[in-house]
Symmetry: C2
Subunit: 209 residues, 2 copies
C-alpha cells in the first residue's frame, strides 16, 4: 500500500472509532468560580465554602453557596459557586442569562477572562464590582490523555458532536474544542442554551461526527 493509501486507511479507521464512542453530556447551569479574596468579601472573612456535591470532572465540586450577579438591566439570583478557589474569579452564564441582565460576555474558553464582561457580585456579607470575568463558555470536550489518544484527538482540536438524536431537536454542535488533561474525564460540556436547543440533559450521550 502506498503511504497515501495507508494514511487514508488510518484516518478512516480513526474516524470510525471516534464515531462509535459515546460521549456523556454534562450541562452546566450558570455558575461562578471565586478567588479566596472575593469569597471572603461576599461571604465574610471567617466563612469557608461548603462542598455539597462532587461534579464529574475530578477535583471540582458544587458548593452550598450562591451569589447574585447584577448587570445594568437586572440581576440573576442563586448563581452557584463551584469550588475549589481559583486564581481569577470567573462567572459562566448562558447567553440567555446574560441578555436578561444586560451584560455582553464573549464566548471564551474557561480561564480566558481578559477583556471579558463585568458585573456586580452580591453575597450575604458583601458585594463587589468585577471589571472582567463574565464569559459564556466555549463548548468543549474533556478527555483524559488515554481517552484522547485512543481516538487520535489532540488538545485544541475542534470537533463536531451530534446530540439529541431521536428527541426532535437533533443538533450537531461544531466548534467544540478538545481539552486534554489527566485532571479530566470524558464529557461534552454544554450550557443550558445549547442543551435546550438540542433537547438534551446531563447524562445523555453525544457522538463525534
Amino acid at each position: 500500500m502506498s503511504d497515501l493509501a495507508g494514511e487514508i486507511a488510518a484516518d478512516v479507521a480513526k474516524r470510525l472509532e471516534r464515531s462509535k464512542t459515546p460521549i456523556p453530556i454534562g450541562v452546566s447551569n450558570r455558575h461562578c468560580h471565586l478567588t479566596e479574596e472575593h469569597f471572603k468579601i461576599l461571604f465574610g472573612a471567617q466563612a469557608r465554602p461548603n462542598r455539597i456535591k462532587d461534579i464529574k470532572q475530578p477535583g471540582f465540586w458544587a458548593a452550598e453557596e450562591v451569589i447574585a450577579v447584577k448587570g445594568p438591566r437586572g440581576r440573576l439570583e442563586r448563581v452557584r459557586l463551584v469550588g475549589p478557589y481559583r486564581s481569577r474569579t470567573q462567572i459562566e452564564l448562558a447567553m440567555t442569562d446574560a441578555k436578561a441582565i444586560g451584560v455582553k460576555p464573549p464566548v471564551r474558553e474557561s480561564g480566558d477572562v481578559k477583556g471579558s464582561a463585568g458585573a456586580e457580585l452580591i453575597g450575604p456579607a458583601g458585594r463587589l464590582t468585577l471589571a472582567e470575568g463574565v464569559i459564556v463558555a466555549l463548548r468543549h470536550v474533556h478527555f483524559a490523555p488515554k481517552e484522547a489518544a485512543a481516538l487520535g484527538i489532540k488538545a485544541g482540536e475542534m470537533l463536531r458532536l451530534r446530540c439529541g438524536t431521536g428527541g426532535g431537536r437533533s443538533s450537531v454542535f461544531e466548534d467544540c474544542v478538545a481539552r486534554v488533561s489527566d485532571q479530566y474525564s470524558l464529557e461534552l460540556h454544554l450550557d443550558t442554551d445549547e442543551a435546550y436547543a438540542a433537547g438534551v440533559k446531563t447524562g445523555d450521550l453525544a457522538y463525534i461526527v
Copy 2:
C-alpha cells in the same frame, strides 16, 4: 443514462442547489397568539390589539400589547402578542423560559396545542387559566411554494441547516420541518435558545446541508 443514474444526477443537482441558497434566520422571542375572547378578558371588552411592527411572514405583526405568563415557579413579564387573532390561544416559549417558571411544554409545530402545557395568563384588565396552549416551537423553515419547488422541497420534509459558521458556535440544526404555503416567505425560525446556541441573530443566514 440509466434511470438510476438519471435519478442520482438529479438528486445531486438538487442538493447542490439547496446548499447554495442562503436562508434568512428569524429569531422568535417568547410570544403569544390569543383568541379574541382571551384578548378581551386580558385587555378589556373594548380593547383592540395595536399593530406596531409587521414581521417577515406575510400577515403577521407584533402588537403593542404584552402579557405575563405565570407558572408554578414564577412569572415571565412582557410576553408580546403577535396578531392577528387565532382560533386557539398559543404561548410560545423557549425551554429556558419554561424552566424558569416551572412549566413543561412539549416541542410542537405551531397550532398543535392539544395536551400541551397550561399556565396562567395575566393582562392589565384580567387574568385567565389556560389548560393547554403552551409549547416550545418545533424549528421550521417557511417556504413560499415557488421557493420550495425550486429546491425540490416538499411540505413536512425534515431538513438540516447550518447556522453561525465562523462565529465560534457553528451548529447544524437537524429536525427542521419544511412548511410550505403561499402565506409564507423564506425563513428559518429559531427560538432564543437555538439562536444563542449557534451565536446567530435575526437576518443572519443559514444553509441547508
